[in-house]
Symmetry: C2
Subunit: 390 residues, 2 copies
């Protein structure tokens, strides 16, 4: 049976655009000037923060525009449909799209809070992180508590502060923390480093799912992009169209997944849960088979757990989602039927809005009813404990 | 029907270890001292070349050893079974393994000739490249012309010289050139750059297949490895076990594939053929579906061909191979049944030698006979024009 009226879609990957006063309403007075604010320059709305000007208010916020007009980011709030930055309007856009509940990643802070990591004044940065969480939970999600799933970001530059913010946000209702797909390209310790122990402990204690959104670590995949350094130490100017990176972003999450599977972190923290946001699912069977193959052959001479098969670890600790992934849906049992969720990606260009429900029905047309229920709704509710049941 | 006696396995990915006199037998006298030669130091056989000492004579040459002893590269020729460096012994090892014909990548030069690229004296480097080709074609392959498929490497630092070497090697019988999976990490122009036109033209004119072996560009995938540069400009010491990279090497070939599909090179050179060596095949359906999705949505504002669907281009220009890839074999029609080949990977650790034929029979047990014939033999013979039919 295809998608039916009783199936409620819960999306684990959407985005909001912050309105101009998110930080101005919340920062202490001494930081109002340096904190994020919108300034109008030559008819454009631009974020100013910590002495820098940011080129876009709504990266890739193309919902409602024809494909031929994509590629130009909105330069004024009026260039976007209100559902981007207004929660009441967003609920209406979700109704049009047939979506019951959604998890919304940040825009100005970067998916994983990287903008505040790069800020020079780290006291201001930490306040900006908390302000976003307060805005998101108390202002945005509070307008429709059954429709918006509370998320948080953390001060990723300090695992102890990050742990404290996880606990603070969890107490306010946050169900998941958006974290960089890897800390390494940011210059932070890798997932293999014990520095993250306070953060892992806080997530485990609070049941906080860790959402790894592709691109959240600032690393652009593909051989022709700037973070592919050369032997000579110079960064090359990319000459590949950005479509190459868009097609390849899931390779970031393949890297994150295998990194974590071989890190020992999952054995040490058996309750940790990772959501691979916007990564698709069609690659999972291959990567798990390959990782098991390597584990079977190469574990004798490396610091790897001898006893736990990586694919078993994956199915206890990871969740995947998709928008449009025919191969992944056909191979859903090789992925793990209890670990697959839908994403909508409003207002970004990968989204099928306002036809997300229609497209999901097409993709799920040959999937049995109980499996459709899991994929479109209950897996996400289970992962995110939404609504809260314990 | 499973693999049967009449099926001849043709492997498109194996390796040879160069014997000590490959270059000493061929270089002009003035370069004999600087050219590659084996020196015994503290009981170890080490390559000396261009003023540098190389740490291993046979990277990962573990054929015939128990898994518990892997991780230590051979330090003397006697540490390896003779089939590594002796073509007559190799034929016997192929007989034991049930393999009819094999394509052997270089060891000391790097899979794609990167060691000579890094040599300071480029006149010597170019002579070393040609010497390897002469050794491989005239000495090694000549011992059993029906069993060994001639390959060549090229001076990758100069597309005009590379084109000339392609034409010279083709005239001597070479069917494929081993080329870096990307030139970018080496500091060379990307596949998108017109600098490569002479090379593409030479490959097209001579029917020279371009073999992209994972790792041949020197780029190690995974967030924790050294070529993942940080924002601070310092290279981090990897703290991930190397198993992470071994599991992820196919992501290099995902990058190479998408780079080429969006480069315009394939439309300009309709005869070019690329072999994705040691990359597996299970990821191909997902990456093609994703690349088509991006092409459908994002081509309007980028320099991308509007008319040719990437998955159609793939099936005209790419070939994949596998050792052990259950997911890929199950999804062989989504990969393309005319584009899948076997690899054996002797003497490396991914190989099932001396049980390659047995393992292939297991993996192919549920595959129809005509498809087994294509996968184990005729696709490789077609791609490589081996034996030569035109």
């Amino acid at each position: 049976m295809p998608l039916q009226d009783h199936h409620q879609i819960v999306s684990v990957d959407d985005h909001l655009i912050e309105h101009p006063r998110v930080w101005q309403d919340r920062l202490p007075e001494k930081y109002l000037d340096a904190g994020p604010k919108i300034v109008e320059v030559d008819g454009k709305h631009l974020w100013h923060y910590d002495g820098n000007v940011f080129p876009t208010i709504g990266l890739n916020a193309v919902a409602g525009k024809p494909q031929e007009e994509w590629g130009m980011d909105p330069v004024r709030y009026e260039d976007m449909i209100p559902g981007c930055y207004d929660p009441a309007a967003r609920v209406k856009d979700m109704d049009v799209d047939g979506v019951q509940a959604a998890l919304l990643f940040p825009s100005f802070p970067g998916f994983g809070g990287g903008v505040f990591f790069r800020g020079q004044d780290k006291e201001l940065s930490a306040l900006c992180v908390s302000a976003w969480n307060d805005f998101h939970i108390d202002e945005w999600c509070a307008t429709a508590p059954e429709r918006f799933i509370p998320m948080c970001i953390v001060p990723i530059w300090d695992p102890v502060l990050a742990a404290a913010e996880v606990r603070r946000a969890a107490a306010k209702g946050a169900r998941t923390v958006s974290f960089p797909d890897s800390p390494v390209p940011l210059g932070l310790p890798s997932f293999h480093h014990e520095a993250w122990e306070p953060f892992w402990n806080a997530c485990e204690d609070t049941g906080m799912v860790i959402s790894l959104h592709f691109g959240s670590g600032g690393y652009v995949p593909g051989f022709s992009f700037a973070n592919t350094n050369t032997t000579g130490g110079e960064l090359r100017i990319p000459d590949a169209p950005f479509a190459v990176a868009i097609a390849l972003f899931s390779t970031n999450l393949m890297w994150s997944t295998v990194d974590l599977l071989f890190s020992g972190v999952l054995q040490k923290h058996p309750k940790l849960q990772f959501s691979l946001a916007e990564g698709g699912i069609g690659w999972i069977p291959y990567i798990l088979e390959r990782t098991d193959f390597v584990w079977e052959r190469h574990r004798y001479y490396q610091p790897i757990d001898f006893h736990t098969r990586p694919s078993d670890l994956f199915r206890e600790h990871f969740w995947g989602c998709f928008i449009d992934d025919v191969h992944g849906v056909e191979n859903r049992h090789a992925v793990g039927i209890d670990r697959i969720m839908l994403e909508i990606d409003y207002p970004h260009s990968d989204s099928n809005w306002p036809n997300s429900r229609k497209r999901a029905a097409e993709v799920l047309a040959d999937v049995p009813d109980d499996e459709v229920t899991k994929i479109c709704e209950t897996n996400a509710r289970t992962m995110l404990n939404f609504p809260r049941v314990s």
